[in-house]
């Protein structure tokens, strides 16, 4: 009996030794961890691109982890990891979060990244700016996004509109919305020309289309209640009043989940949609025959203003292997790797020039239109580069949109309230 035990222990020890010998090459490498918020299919597509780094060199081993971002909680997990001194070596950061994270001392400066072989001059300056805070570079762009207007050409034809002529001004937009909206016998909405709340993820964007802005970098003042912003939200309120708050709510309740065949735009319930560059991926997944067009969102004066944001990558304060992390960053920023990432994401890298193969292989056959929209835009706008960004965003999502769309108060009063709250917040966090 005792011999059996000895044999068992001996086998275990031998196995451990064998395991250690086999794992030896990996142990010799510097292991770094990269937290990304991509999950599911997106993560499966991107992971091999990131992990290819492990086979092209034998000095560093990167471990890519998908960290759940349900309800935006990657941020909470990241903050607590940094505070606990257990930061990952690299972290996925959305461009609008950069000032907040950098301002709170959670990201390290990447000003020395050119010494690792990254040629920043190959990137569009405007996108590099989104990774900066207070003049310093804190994050680098991997997959940027633009938010544009999509329209359903079939519904345009049905409504007697030219399917190749989208609206360019707010007046035209209003007119098109009326023509594209249909009701049943009981007066219930069965098709809506456009819905500002579907998906409605960029509520402050309306301000820019009316010539407003959220923050004045010169005076460093919040400008939530600027007259143009009030006009933008009066337009939103008038939209709600015209189609009826309850009728709109009942109509929206019938929409399926965003990334599904029941998407309101894909099913033709909404004829025009303000959405991200990834929308063609959604359309292709569920309705490949769908006839759609894309353009910049209309504005009050016909000038094209395009909202930009993106998936960036940064090195947290307290990262255990910042040198190795920067070497991996340099690999990610190689034009051919950036193109692979953006092909998987149905996006366009921030490079000034992309290869012909990239355009030819792009799954979105209208990708040239997106490049044109960004290049020709009169203004590329983004979230204010202030460290109280999360709070400001919550004010638009939790205060402005509900109060205006539920007709609780006038846009002027609501925006005055946000102005007051933000000034108070800035004073409080000084």
């Amino acid at each position: 009996m005792r011999n059996w035990i000895k044999l068992l222990i001996g086998t275990c020890l031998l196995s451990m030794l064998f395991g250690m010998v086999v794992a030896q090459p990996a142990m010799a490498r510097t292991e770094i961890t990269y937290w990304v918020k991509w999950s599911g299919e997106e993560f499966s597509e991107l992971k091999p691109i990131f992990e290819k780094f492990n086979s092209v060199q034998d000095e560093i081993y990167v471990n890519v982890l998908s960290v759940s971002d349900v309800g935006g909680d990657l941020e909470a997990k990241f903050y607590t990891a940094v505070a606990a001194g257990d930061s990952p070596d690299l972290v996925h950061v959305m461009s609008h979060q950069v000032p907040e994270w950098a301002g709170k001392n959670a990201l390290s400066s990447l000003d020395d990244i050119p010494t690792y072989g990254v040629d920043l001059s190959r990137h569009i300056e405007r996108y590099l700016d989104l990774g900066k805070y207070d003049g310093q570079l804190y994050a680098l762009p991997l997959a940027p996004a633009t938010v544009v207007l999509y329209w359903n050409k079939e519904l345009f034809r049905e409504a007697g509109l030219d399917p190749n002529k989208p609206p360019t001004t707010i007046d035209e937009l209003n007119e098109y919305i009326k023509k594209l909206t249909k009701y049943d016998d009981k007066g219930n909405i069965i098709q809506l020309g456009f819905d500002p709340l579907t998906p409605g993820w960029w509520p402050p964007a309306w301000c820019y289309f009316f010539g407003g802005k959220l923050y004045d970098p010169q005076t460093k003042r919040i400008t939530a209640n600027a007259p143009e912003n009030v006009k933008a939200y009066e337009w939103l309120r008038d939209f709600i009043k015209e189609f009826g708050m309850e009728k709109l709510q009942a109509f929206r309740a019938g929409f399926g989940p965003y990334w599904s065949a029941e998407n309101a735009f894909v099913t033709g319930k909404v004829a025009m949609s303000y959405d991200g560059i990834w929308k063609p991926h959604l359309i292709d997944s569920f309705a490949p025959e769908f006839d759609w067009g894309v353009t910049a969102f209309p504005s009050v004066d016909g000038k094209t203003r395009v909202y930009i944001e993106g998936d960036y990558v940064g090195i947290p304060v307290g990262a255990k292997h910042p040198e190795a992390a920067k070497k991996f960053l340099a690999y990610l920023l190689k034009p051919e790797v950036l193109e692979q990432i953006n092909l998987a994401q149905w996006k366009i890298p921030t490079l000034k020039e992309v290869s012909e193969e990239f355009i030819a292989n792009h799954p979105n056959k209208n990708i040239g239109e997106f490049i044109k929209i960004t290049k020709m835009a009169n203004e590329l706008f983004c979230w204010p580069r202030i460290p109280v960004c999360n709070y400001y965003l919550s004010q638009w999502l939790d205060v402005v949109v509900p109060k205006v769309t539920l007709l609780k108060d006038t846009p002027q009063n609501v925006l005055n309230l946000v102005q007051k709250n933000m000034e108070r917040e800035q004073q409080r966090t000084k």
């Binding site: 709170k104 309850e246 709510q249 304060v317 709070y391 509900p402």
Partner: protein, 297 residues
């Protein structure tokens, strides 16, 4: 005598050995954070930089903060309206179950307790579907009855009643406690009352309620504290919206701490909530002294 002392010491050592892990856990995970939060409530602390002493500023900001006042109001709404309704339902159901045969009662008791085993997040997601204005089962039945369907969690007026409605899911725990207390009520009391011609209503008011008053007090105190800390259901379903109509103090604290990294401010809000809960529990126990009847003591 000496031998007894030795035994006592040995017992103490063994006792401490067994209770030790719990004591360590209590100190590390409860007492230390509890005291630290009191300190942080008097500072400006972003978690990533050292706390800066600000005195009572956080408390002053809190009482000027309209969002916090709204969160307090919503929380009190759930405590004063939602919680009594669920307790009343649990009590009525327990009395009804007690009156039926032991065999059926056992089955129903399990059936009522069973939903409570479902984790809060799963329950919240399920109720979101059940209360969907267009294809939810609630509005399906309401429309069959010819009642116009509310938008539930999309409508600030209906969102709070919607959350209250789903809190009935968890009344099984209270029912079990009431049933146990009801079993202890001496049958002779009911027999005597019946002989005197007392009605059922009169028997419930004059015998059942006073006799199970310790259980009512227990459920009230525990349930009230839990309702003050309401978080999971509104957080999952509405995130505190629409228009802050379901924002509870719990969600307010979470947002301040983890969305905006205002740990000091969140700690101050947590302490305000703690003081309210402590004061009301103390008041409840004080008032109950003259009302609750403890048999044999």
């Amino acid at each position: 005598m000496k031998r007894r002392t030795c035994t006592s010491l040995r017992n103490l050592r063994i006792g401490l050995f067994f209770v030790g892990p719990w004591l360590i856990g209590l100190t590390v995970f409860n007492i230390v954070p509890f005291m630290l939060s009191l300190y942080y409530s008097l500072t400006n602390y972003s978690l990533l930089s050292p706390p800066v002493w600000t005195g009572f500023n956080n408390f002053r900001w809190l009482f000027e903060d309209e969002t916090f006042r709204l969160a307090l109001w919503n929380t009190f709404y759930f405590v004063l309206i939602g919680f009594p309704l669920t307790q009343l339902a649990a009590l009525v159901l327990a009395i009804m179950l007690h009156s039926i045969g032991e065999k059926s009662m056992k089955w129903f008791r399990a059936a009522y307790y069973f939903p409570g085993l479902v984790p809060g997040v799963v329950m919240a997601l399920t109720w979101m579907l059940m209360m969907n204005p267009n294809f939810g089962i609630f509005n399906f039945f309401l429309s069959k009855l010819g009642i116009s369907s509310p938008l539930w969690f999309d409508d600030p007026f209906w969102a709070k009643p919607g959350i209250i409605l789903l809190s009935f899911w968890y009344i099984g725990g209270s029912i079990i406690i009431y049933l146990a207390a009801l079993k202890d009520v001496p049958v002779e009391l009911y027999e005597a009352a019946s002989l005197d011609g007392a009605s059922m209503w009169y028997r419930i008011i004059k015998i059942t309620i006073p006799m199970i008053s310790p259980a009512i007090l227990f459920n009230t105190v525990v349930g009230m504290i839990a309702t003050f800390q309401l978080f999971t259901e509104p957080f999952i379903i509405t995130g505190g919206g629409p228009d802050y109509s379901t924002l509870t103090v719990g969600i307010f604290i979470y947002n301040q701490a983890f969305r905006f990294l205002h740990m000091g401010y969140a700690s101050a809000a947590a302490w305000v909530l703690f003081v309210i809960i402590f004061a009301l529990t103390f008041l409840l126990l004080k008032i109950s002294k003259g009302i609750v009847y403890y048999r044999g003591g």
